[in-house]
């Protein structure tokens, strides 16, 4: 026989060996019986295995039985109520488990509900001020009618839509500024050259100030837009320049006669490019000052970044207070008055531009701060909607939790009643 022939035989022997135990007990099929008997007949090893297994089983069967050392009968004492051996609560083990689960669930739901109610009760009150602040920031920005206020990054996107508001504000501001503008024609020619020099100096000042303002990230995008508008505005009409500049023209109109001072006043937020824009515009507009009263747009075309900046705080800074409040204060005091409504700040600015030479950012901050006080009033009503929105949510959560607790209690009750009925029926 070759090796190849031995391998199938070895596997067959092993397979038969596994059947020997069942063969001894008669727990094999007819086919398996034939297979075992044939293999045992041919293999002495299998015969030996079968015989030794049979002897082992025989020895096991001959083991003497072990008598119990004592009776294991139960007594009444072992089964009395209160005994630890007594059936626990009389519940079957499977039912006992579900009852424990239901009771545990009810306790967990109750504790969780109390915890959530406390959290929500304290959480909503702490959230209200934050929501109020966000609303304050959002609403002024949305409701702002001062395109000049939106010079910041957000305002940049509103540059185009701001064309409509500016005209309205021009009308609002123009009458108040007529007094100042009328004075311009008298001095316009004489001061044209002086204005150029002054604007240069002011540009330097504004550039230095703008350097500080450049730290504010929200100013930079605006400055880029102003640069583009400056480059385009040199060749464009004043009205177009106004449209191109993100700064609201109407607010600039208030400062048309005080271009140098305006440049000097330009707070840090005013990009240097804006002041540069003001220079060519100021020169041209001063020459055309006589037509200011006739063309409100021209008057409003004068770049007046300062009013814009002062108007900006009320709308923009509120949205940025959390992040850039410190920077705004350090760079531009006026923007610190973030809550000032656009209209009041414009009016105040129009009323106080005379002492332009002495007009300092600090003074503007004072004005803006004064104007900011009215802005405090709207905060109160805004808090109410936030609270009113929070209350339904809180009540809904409480309702859900209480419902879950009730459900767990109902399930527990059903289980107990079911067991009682089952026991009564068996009894």
């Amino acid at each position: 026989m070759t090796t190849a022939d031995h391998q199938p035989q070895e596997s067959n022997i092993e397979q038969v060996r596994e059947l020997l135990s069942a063969y001894l007990d008669g727990e094999v099929t007819s086919e398996e019986i034939a297979q075992v008997e044939e293999a045992v007949y041919r293999s002495p090893e299998l015969r030996r295995d079968l015989e030794t297994l049979r002897q082992t089983v025989s020895l096991l069967k001959r083991l003497p039985p072990m008598p119990a050392p004592r009776p294991f009968t139960l007594s009444e004492a072992r089964t009395e109520p209160g005994s630890p051996l007594r059936r626990t609560f009389g519940l079957p083990s499977w039912l006992r488990g579900w009852a424990v689960v239901a009771a545990t669930l009810a306790c967990v739901m109750a504790l969780g509900g109390v915890f959530v109610i406390q959290q929500f009760g304290g959480g909503m009150s702490s959230l209200a001020p934050a929501e109020i602040a966000l609303q304050e920031q959002a609403e002024p920005a949305a409701e702002s009618e001062m395109p000049a206020v939106e010079i910041t990054q957000e305002g940049e996107t509103l540059a185009e839509p701001d064309t409509e508001p500016p005209p309205a504000e021009e009308k609002m501001v123009a009458p108040e500024l007529l007094v100042e503008e009328e004075a311009l024609p008298q001095e316009a020619v004489e001061e044209a050259e002086q204005g150029m020099i002054a604007t240069d100096e002011a540009a330097e000042d504004t550039a230095s100030v703008a350097g500080e303002a450049a730290e504010a990230e929200d100013i930079q995008p605006q400055s880029e837009a102003v640069e583009e508008s400056v480059a385009a505005g040199n060749e464009a009409e004043s009205g177009d320049r106004v449209e191109a500049t993100p700064t609201p023209v109407p607010t600039m109109a208030a400062m048309a006669t005080t271009t140098p001072t305006i440049a000097a006043m330009a707070p840090a937020e005013i990009p240097a490019e804006e002041s540069a824009l003001a220079e060519p515009q100021a020169i041209e507009e001063e020459a055309a000052v006589g037509d200011v009263t006739e063309n409100g747009e021209q008057a409003s075309a004068t770049p007046i970044p300062l009013p814009t900046m002062t108007a900006m705080p009320p709308a923009e800074i509120p949205a940025e207070e959390p992040a850039s409040a410190d920077q705004a204060e350090g760079a531009v005091p006026p923007p610190a008055a973030a809550e000032a409504p656009p209209e009041p700040s414009v009016e105040q600015r129009a009323a106080t531009p005379q002492p332009t030479a002495t007009f300092t950012p600090t003074a503007m901050a004072t004005d803006v701060a004064a104007a900011s006080t009215p802005a405090d009033a709207p905060t109160e009503p805004r808090a109410e909607p936030a609270e009113s929105k929070a209350e339904p949510v809180r009540s809904m959560v409480v309702t859900v939790i209480l419902s879950l607790i009730g459900l767990a209690l109902v399930v527990t009750t059903i289980i107990i009643i079911g067991w009682w009925l089952l026991k009564k029926r068996q009894g």
Partner: protein, 198 residues
């Protein structure tokens, strides 16, 4: 009395009826526990605990072999005892030769010769030692089948294992015990030694 009626009475709360069942099956229960645990006191504790559990769970019995149902509780109680005490069957070869089990020396019947009793005692101890060397799953199946005479189906019900698993475990357990006895052949009485010659 019909066992079914006794069981019904026990399910209705009759302790006396349940004790009748205890008396009928406590011998089998103790032997199974003793062979599995290898210790008389541990086996008694396991049996007592098993009958208490059976009384508490008597209402869960839904028919079929009451003996199998009861033995399942006994074997589970034995496993619990073994795991709780972290013990293996304590019988050792030296302990067996020095202090043979007192139970093995008791006369099974009055006609047995003393020498046969001694031999039976030595054989019993050695076989018990071999049983305790088996893994728990093989040990239980060998005891239920060859010591207590349960059928393959009853063993399947008691252990909650399929028939194929029962056959496999019994085959391996028997072969392992055979190999043990062949190795200890000198300790076996001559008439009980396994004859390997065909």
């Amino acid at each position: 009395m019909n066992e079914t009626l006794i069981i019904k009475e026990a399910q209705q709360g009759s302790i006396a009826a349940f004790n009748r069942l205890v008396m009928a099956y406590q011998g089998t229960a103790y032997n199974v526990a003793y062979r599995v645990m290898g210790d008389g006191e541990a086996a008694a504790d396991a049996c007592q605990e098993a009958f208490l559990k059976a009384y508490k769970a008597i209402n869960q019995y839904r028919g079929g072999s009451f003996k199998s149902w009861l033995m399942r509780i006994v074997t589970n109680s034995c496993y619990d005892q073994l795991r709780y005490k972290g013990r293996r069957p304590a019988t050792s070869l030296e302990k067996m030769t020095e202090n043979p089990s007192p139970n093995s020396l008791k006369l099974v019947n009055g006609s047995e010769k003393p020498e046969d009793r001694v031999l039976r005692g030595e054989l019993s101890d050695l076989i018990q030692l071999g049983i305790e060397e088996l893994p728990e799953d093989q040990r239980l199946v060998v005891v239920l089948s060859d010591v207590q005479g349960f059928s393959y189906q009853e063993i399947s019900d008691i252990t909650d294992q399929p028939l194929g698993t029962v056959k496999s475990r019994l085959s391996r357990g028997r072969r392992r015990l055979r190999d043990f006895l062949l190795a200890q052949k000198e300790l076996l009485p001559s008439q009980y030694r396994l004859k390997t010659e065909s």
